[in-house]
């Protein structure tokens, strides 16, 4: 059992890649049991571990994590839409993007985070070991046109509502979920709000009011154009 204090020390002593046997062992046992199902993994020594698995071995991963690695605690389950927003970056923009011919704008290339990705949608889930205090983040790429994935409910019953949320917010079909109905939104709501191409209509009809704050302060000659981010300083 590794105490969190020693973990912290490992991080603060230096940024050298430190050995992290506990987390490496999790990756090793996943690689052992899943075989080709494990696509990529990354260990941030003393802090965190990410693994990326294939869609087919999504449920198997949960079983291995619970039964072999002792991850009894279900933390959360969600999804990420990696497509850059077609509406531009609202907060960066100095002009409102309404009316801009969106087809003219070159779409930004898709980039992925830790352990990479291949498609637009990615499942993400996290489980935790309440004894050794180690959490694992699991990811799986989903088909961009028809995202579907197995339900984790047979392994972690707590995944129920999280999967309903993912279905509602991203339009991801959860195979084997008994009760895929709206969790948050009224039943007549259309669209999947957390998809990047779902517009926030209030922003489309009215520019972000914070933009007017970027005028130079009096006496601040070289007014920085992007001052709206400086609120926190």
């Amino acid at each position: 059992m590794s105490s969190p204090d020693t973990n912290l020390d490992e991080v603060s002593e230096g940024h050298e890649p430190v050995a992290d046997p506990a987390r490496d062992a999790i990756v090793a046992s996943l690689a052992d049991q899943l075989g080709d199902g494990l696509v990529a993994s990354e260990v941030l020594a003393g802090t965190d571990v990410w693994v990326r698995v294939t869609t087919d071995s999504w449920l198997a991963t949960a079983t291995v994590l619970r039964d072999t690695c002792g991850m009894a605690y279900f933390n959360f389950l969600s999804a990420i839409d990696w497509m850059p927003s077609p509406f531009g970056r609202d907060m960066d923009a100095q002009v409102d993007l309404v009316g801009a011919d969106e087809s003219q704008v070159d779409p930004e290339p898709m980039t992925w985070g830790v352990t990479g990705g291949a498609t637009r949608f990615q499942m993400i889930a996290r489980v935790h070991d309440p004894v050794c205090h180690i959490g694992v983040t699991v990811k799986a790429d989903l088909d961009a046109d028809d995202p579907r994935v197995d339900s984790w409910m047979p392994v972690y019953p707590g995944a129920d509502w999280h999967e309903r949320e993912a279905w509602e917010m991203f339009g991801i079909t959860i195979v084997g979920h008994p009760n895929l109905v709206n969790l948050y939104l009224p039943s007549q709501f259309e669209g999947n709000p957390l998809r990047k191409d779902y517009p926030l209509l209030a922003r489309r009809v009215k520019p972000w009011p914070g933009i007017v704050d970027v005028e130079a302060m009096p006496g601040d000659g070289d007014g920085d154009a992007a001052d709206e981010g400086g609120e926190g300083s």
Binding site: A72, Y73, F76, M91, Y156, Y184, L194, L200, G210
Partner: protein, 390 residues
Amino acid sequence: MTDVSNRNQLAYIAAQASDARVNVEFETEGMTLNLGPQHPATHGTLRVIVKLDGERVLRADPMMGYMHRGYEKLAEVRTYPQVTTLVNRIDWLGSFANEVPFILAAERLMEVEAPPRAQWIRTILFELSRIANVILFLGDMGVQLGAVTPVFFAFRDREFVLNQIEAVTGGRFHPNFDRIGGLKDDIPKGWTEETTGVLGRIRTFCDEMEDLVTGNEIFQARPRGIGVIPAEVGLAYGLSGANIRGSGVDWDLRRDGGVGLAHDQVDWKVWTHPDGDSFSRYWVRLQEVREACGIIEQLLGGIPSGPVMAKVPRIIKVPAGEAYVETENPLGVMGYYVVSKGDLVPFRVKIRSASFSNISITPWVLEGAYVPDVVSILASLYFILGDIDR
């Protein structure tokens, strides 16, 4: 009044209560009871559809979303400093605690660390918001079982805690005080002495609760043995905080999480209770308020000197990366999975809020319960609607 330490007497009362529940099986017609969305027992706008067979619950379906405000989408169009304003309002009773894990996640991505003084003050405010949150639960638990007085006591003493938070942050309710790299400001002069006085009041409040509620015969009889959650079920459903510690799991992120707060600098204890019923969850929370008082008192005595803000750029752009940081918030484990692409705004923020997972066990735990117990089981799980619906 019952002597709390007398196990035999308590066992007798519990046995009486359970005997009263044993009833002859009659042919009954099913009935659907609709609690909420506006019901005093639901702390806001949770709606629970309960299918009954006589007095027994066959099936309970919580319906949420009446408070869904779209935090995760809105966080994608707000700069990092603006997100704290938003997330303040998730768990509105312990607002400051909501900011902390988000700020810590952003700090991990930016590879900055708050100066020690900021960490200590952060921890003090974190624990103060825990007190502000949980003492309202202690009062409210009494209300759900028919005792109205405790909630007045709770509101009375909560004001003093809010005053102290306001004195530092300027915000009575939503402080928005935490910054990436430290805190907005230092604590005012004389604040530590005043806070020590307030902690005395809170301790008295806890003693009053012990006398008034915990020692009450009805309270001893009713929440015991109902809503029992075994540890492994609780873990699989993602329960956290006092709910899982009430089931005997010795797990507290303040001790085990190892994130940048000063809890490891002081001497305190994680309370657990083996029973896993409604009473044990109440009892663990009561002890945690006392423990929080102790933590704050020790921290107040040794706040290190120095700046409260590390060097961070004026315009905060968080480097690309992903970080998940969770802390032990008043309601349980709260975490933020922050995905950054190096912009002013986060690319994706997944908010793992405690109440959402805590309340997801209700269909399981309410099945087979009796109607009068539904409200007290829900109350003992303790949820804030903003924390469920986000």
